[in-house]
Amino acid sequence: MTEQDRPQYQQLLARKVEVVNVGLEGFVKDLRDCDIGVVHVDWKPSAGGDPQMAALLAKLGV
């Protein structure tokens, strides 16, 4: 099987991996410990995950 015949996800992992980590910051340290480049995005679900408040905010235009 040539490189081009491999599924796309395998091609990705065959090259140097760089990661964008969204949300939980705990993964960042593990990746950095493996010398993998990682950019952390500080993200939380709207209203801390409270669905009623999130729905209200959506109606109020957030």
Binding site: A47, M53, L56, L57, K59, L60, G61, V62
Partner: protein, 416 residues
């Protein structure tokens, strides 16, 4: 929602268009006709005697003796507990006060006029450091200083302010931000610039050189002198932005040592309160968090207009003083507050942020959506009455206030 966006734009415009000028110092009873005998205005949202914290009770007892309603502190405390003293928030009378925020009828107040909207706001004179009433101090030295402010300093500075035709405040703040002030825990630059502007007028209007020297020294020796002027300015700027239906912009943040309270433009005079949090910070030698009182004061009005913790990037030295991390991290506070505000103030810029304006117009929707709450730079009072300041730190506004306000404004707008 277009109604909200339009209302917020109107509220923001009113905040940014404010033209605050310090125009006078006048005894409170002349400014606030409803301020009567046996009536005390305090910091924060409404609170009764039985729920007041130690420093607030200490300040109340001191204020009662100061006004001559009781002969000594024990008698004053009994009087306060008897229900014969009326307590109201400063904010209900166009005023603000730092920490305990005592305002009684004979106290001289700064008068700041917002020329753009023809409204006025008031704040007592900063007492300086050490044992002071704003931190719950109430001994003879505290009351003696208050009497001097009432009888000597207030009239002297008031004469000078009137002779000067008032002092423009926005330009002083702009210069202070470029000189390392954030206007809450650091007012050294603004106090100095103010002194530079007012000193010639004090010299022209004073008839007694000894009094003049004493008054100039009082301003010059108090790095926080300008804070109380900035607070009256904040109140004068935010009041015209209140009462715009649909607006989700915060117009008041304050605390009384027990509760934190906010008011929101679209909801007018309604308070949204939650238990106030303990500041995280650094303590003076000999004190620790065991001695600290939960946060208090109307001074968070400066954060409400984008200063204080919101302008931390302008004052990296303050980050260390309040225990908020390395000076290089000060910008993170300002960037974070940018996530919960709708604009920057182009007249108040921060050099260290490439002259970005201070984050202005706190939107309760952005606070609740992101979970990022306003940060406030604050002094820390001892939890027992009569002792005073024991440290300085940063306190976070409770998210619950903003959540309650979201539910209330949704109800008001018929959204469910």
């Amino acid at each position: 929602m277009k109604l909200i966006e339009d209302a917020n734009q109107q509220a923001l415009t009113r905040i940014l268009e404010g033209e605050p000028r310090l125009i006078d110092i006048v005894p409170a009873r002349q400014l606030i006709p409803d301020l009567r005998e046996r009536m005390i205005l305090h910091a924060g949202p409404p609170i009764s005697w039985d729920r007041m914290c130690g420093p607030m009770r200490g300040a109340v007892a001191g204020a009662i003796v100061f006004e001559g309603w009781a002969k000594d502190l024990p008698t004053a405390t009994k009087l306060a507990a008897s229900g014969e003293i009326e307590f109201h928030p400063n904010h209900h009378f166009g005023a603000v006060g730092p920490m305990t925020g005592m305002t009684t009828m004979s106290m001289p107040l700064f008068v700041v006029e917002n020329a753009r909207f023809s409204n006025r706001a008031y704040c007592a004179i900063n007492e300086g450091l050490g044992k002071v009433m704003r931190f719950g101090g109430n001994d003879a030295s505290v009351l003696k200083r208050l009497a001097w402010l009432r009888d000597v300093f207030g009239p002297t500075l008031g004469n000078a302010i009137r002779a000067a035709g008032g002092i423009d405040l926005k330009s002083i703040v702009a210069r202070g931000l470029s000189m390392g002030d954030e206007l809450h825990q650091r007012n050294l630059a603004c106090s100095s610039v103010f002194l530079r502007e007012i000193a010639p007028w004090m010299a022209r209007t004073s008839t007694d050189n000894a009094v003049l020297a004493e008054c100039l020294a009082f301003i010059g020796q108090n790095d926080q002198f300008f804070l109380n002027i900035a607070m009256a300015m904040g109140k004068a700027i935010t009041d015209p932005a209140n009462g715009i239906r649909g607006s989700t912009i915060v117009t008041t943040m304050c605390r009384n040592g027990t509760d934190f309270g906010i008011r929101v433009s679209g909801l007018g005079e309604q308070w949204f309160t939650a238990p106030v949090e303990m500041p995280e910070g650094l303590y003076f030698a000999g004190y620790s968090e065991k001695d600290a009182n939960p946060d208090m004061g109307d001074s968070a009005i400066v954060e409400t207009i984008g200063l204080g913790g919101f302008a931390m990037a302008a004052a990296p030295a303050v980050a260390g003083f309040v225990g908020a991390g390395a000076p290089s991290e000060a910008g993170n506070f300002t960037r974070s507050m940018g996530e919960i505000t709708v604009a920057q103030n182009p007249e108040w810029t921060i050099a260290a942020m490439d002259f970005a304006g201070v984050p202005t117009g706190i939107d309760i929707r952005l606070v609740v959506d992101s979970g990022v709450v306003p940060v406030i730079n604050t002094g820390i009072a001892h939890r027992e009455p009569g002792i005073g300041q024991v440290g300085a730190g940063v306190v976070k506004a409770p998210l619950a206030c903003f959540q309650q306000a979201i539910v209330a404004i949704a109800k008001d707008l018929g959204v469910s």
